[in-house]
Structures are given as C-alpha cells and as structure tokens.
C-alpha cells in the first residue's frame, strides 16, 4: 500500500471517528455545567474528614489512593523496562565520564570516531543553571511536602526535584551529575518511595482498618491544611515525591549515559 493510499484510508477512518466523537460530544452537558455527583460530595466533606484543604491531593492519596498506588507502580515498571532496554550491548564500550581537556574544542563542529570533540558550554548557561539549582530544590521540596494545603503534591514536587539534578548537569559535567546521584542510591530511593507508599497502606491492616485507611493523627480541626495535618496524606505525598524524583533522575541518567558515554566499539581493523 503506497503512502498516498494509506493517507486516504486514514482520512476515511478519521472521518468516521470524528463523526462518532461529534455525536458523543453533542450528548455531553454544556461546558461549565458539570452535574456531579462526586465533586460536590467530596468538597462538602473533605475538610471535616481529612483536615486537608488541598482537595485534589486528598483525592489522589486518600479517596482514590488505590489508583495512585497503581500509577506509582506504572512509573516504577517503566523505569525498570527502560533500564533493561538501554543496557550496554555486546559491541559497545563506555567512555570515561570525565572529559579530557584536550577534547574540549571551542570550534568543534563534528565528532570524530574515537575521541569526542565537545563544544564548551557557554558561561551564561552554566551560571544560570547554577543559580537556579538551589531555588529549584527548595521549590520541589515545598511542593512535595505541602500537598494537603495548596496546589502541590508529590508528583509535581518529585519532577521539580529531579529538575534540580538536570540543572547540575547543565552547569557542569556529566560526572558531577553522576556523583550527586549514584545509581545505587537513586535505585534505593525509588524503591523506598514506591514501596513506602504501599507499606503505609499495608500498615493499616494490623490496626484492623481497610488498606490505605488514614490512621495517622489528623491534626487539630481548627487549622486545616497545616503541614502536619491530614495524617497519611502528607506522608504519602512525601514518599511519592521521593519516588518520582528518583524515577526521573534514573530516566535522564540512563539517557545521558547512552548519549554521552556509550559508543559503538570501533571496527577490528582500527581507525
């Protein structure tokens, strides 16, 4: 089938799909008149039941916590799969992670076969990345620990924490990034985060409560949304933040290693 025929077949198919979509959309309530019932039911009860003012995080880690455990493990599985797929194959070798100063070449335009000619990172990029690393860590940590208060949560905070590590790579060399996040430590952190989430849920069982019940003290009812309030929501959010940060650091670390270090072994006759 030629590409042209493929294109026409696709257009016919998507016309049918759009017709179906249009019919479905026509049956939806108008934009802005969502009838509920779960939204209003939850917002009416959330502050009394969980002492949290961040309703979305309360839903993620309390009302809908079971689904979030599943999504957390999707993340873990994706990272594990990626680590397996990007393993070093036979016929590849890994360069040393530290650049030889003679490799740095401000006028480099193309790499050679064995040695890499690496253009020097501009000073502006390094300074900006260095200056932003500290605030990024702070912001990520704040996001991960304030899930119950305001728009924040473990997922966003985790990715922002991982961003701080990428900034370290930008402002320095790959080896600085690797030293700050050795593979074993990051693996362990991800395991602690994801397993900790499941363990917090399982720990409710010996207390005679259902899995993932909120059994920690909820804090004083007069100050909803304080950092120490809302029981397991705060703890779970922190663990999720750690797990997500570790997952993303692993992801990018693997990609960086593949791109920068692992080269095809030169052919036997030599260069």
């Amino acid at each position: 089938m030629t590409p042209g025929q493929r294109r026409w077949l696709f257009l016919v198919g998507v016309a049918g799909l759009v017709a179906f979509l249009g019919w479905g959309i026509a049956g939806l309530p108008a934009f802005g008149s969502y009838p509920g019932p779960y939204g209003p039911a939850i917002t009416a009860r959330v502050v009394q039941q969980t002492n949290a003012t961040g309703v979305v995080s309360a839903i993620n880690f309390e009302y809908r916590g079971f689904d979030t455990v599943g999504e957390e493990f999707i993340l873990v599985a994706a990272v594990a799969g990626m680590s397996v797929v990007l393993r070093r194959l036979r016929g590849e070798r890994a360069d040393a992670a530290r650049d030889d100063p003679s490799d740095l070449d401000p006028s480099a335009t193309d790499p050679s076969g064995g040695r890499r000619r690496v253009p020097v990172t501009s000073g502006a990029v390094r300074m900006a990345a260095l200056a932003l690393t500290g605030p990024t860590v702070l912001a990520g940590w704040w996001l991960a620990t304030h899930a119950q208060t305001s728009p924040s949560g473990g997922f966003q905070g985790g990715v922002l924490l991982a961003t701080a590590f990428f900034l370290v790579y930008l402002s320095g060399e790959f080896i600085a990034f690797r030293r700050l996040s050795p593979v074993d430590v990051v693996d362990a952190a991800e395991a602690i985060g994801a397993g900790g989430f499941a363990a917090v849920g399982v720990a409710a069982l010996p207390l005679g409560l259902p899995y993932l019940d909120n059994y920690l003290p909820l804090g004083s009812p007069g100050s909803p949304g304080a950092v120490t309030s809302s029981g397991t929501i705060a703890v779970i959010s922190l663990l999720v933040g750690v797990a997500v940060a570790a997952a993303f650091i692993q992801l990018i670390g693997e990609f960086l290693e593949q791109t920068l270090l692992i080269q095809r072994r030169p052919p036997a006759r030599g260069h």
């Binding site: 590409p3 961040g54 979305v56 995080s57 992670a97 530290r98 650049d99 490799d103 480099a108 335009t109 193309d110 790499p111 050679s112 076969g113 064995g114 890499r116 000619r117 690496v118 253009p119 990172t121 996001l143 728009p151 924040s152 949560g153 997922f155 966003q156 990715v159 922002l160 991982a162 961003t163 990428f166 790579y169 930008l170 060399e173 790959f174 080896i175 993303f248 992801l251 990018i252 990609f255 960086l256 593949q258 791109t259 920068l260 270090l261 080269q263 095809r264 260069h271």
Partner: protein, 127 residues
C-alpha cells in the same frame, strides 16, 4: 475576574492550544517539533490555569517544559549518526529534511548507516 472575561480568556487560550497542536504536527524535521512541543506544553499549562486547575498546571509545566523535551532531545542526539571515519565527511546540513521523506532504497537490513553526518553544533554534547 468576571465570568465573561474569564470565558473570553478561555476561548482565546483554547484557540492557541489548537493552533499549537497543529504546529507540532506540521513542522518538519526532528528537533523543531520538539521545540514546538515544549511551547505547546507551556500553552497547555496556561489553559489548565484558566480552567481553574492549578495542580494540573504545575504537573504539565514541569513535565512538558522540562522532562519531555529533554528525553526527546537526548534520543535525537543518540540516533544522530556519528561521522563514518575521521576526516572523511564534512559536517552535513542541519537536521531538517531527511527523516520525513522516503529515503530511496533504504529498505536494506541494518548493516549500513543510512543517515547523514550530523549537523553543525557538536554531537557529543557536554560531558
């Protein structure tokens, strides 16, 4: 903000989002759609903000502007072919044209490297 003004803002941002999605798909090459995707992620974050969803805004911002373009650019850097032998080929044109048109006779199994020499700008990145 009055409801009418908010609605108008929502309509404008929705139109921009639709336009940005078309842009991402229409732009040729490899690196340019990634940049368009980053811009699209930013616009999506603005959309989620004006539809009163700040948590989703934060998520989309950090993922769409940081993580996804980074992953895609690293992949592109990895699959850009290295120069075949030292001193042989001059640096090729910046990577825009080839991957979207049918390369003639590229159906042979994998021994050769059918790509071009990498574009200007240094391939090993920073190390």
């Amino acid at each position: 903000m009055t409801t009418g003004a908010l609605e108008a803002l929502q309509v404008v941002v929705l139109l921009l989002v639709g336009g940005a999605a078309t842009l991402v798909v229409a732009v040729p090459g490899r690196v340019r759609p990634v940049l368009a995707l980053s811009f699209y992620g930013l616009l999506l974050a603005v959309l989620f903000l004006v539809v009163q969803a700040p948590d989703v805004t934060l998520s989309e911002l950090v993922v769409g502007a940081v993580a996804l373009p980074l992953i895609l650019l690293l992949t592109i850097a990895k699959v850009r072919d290295p120069a075949p032998a030292p001193g042989a080929a001059a640096p090729g044109p910046p990577d825009q044209a080839p991957p979207d048109q049918a390369p003639p006779g590229a159906g042979q199994p994998g021994a050769g490297q059918p790509g071009q020499p990498p574009g200007a700008g240094g391939d090993g990145g920073q190390g």
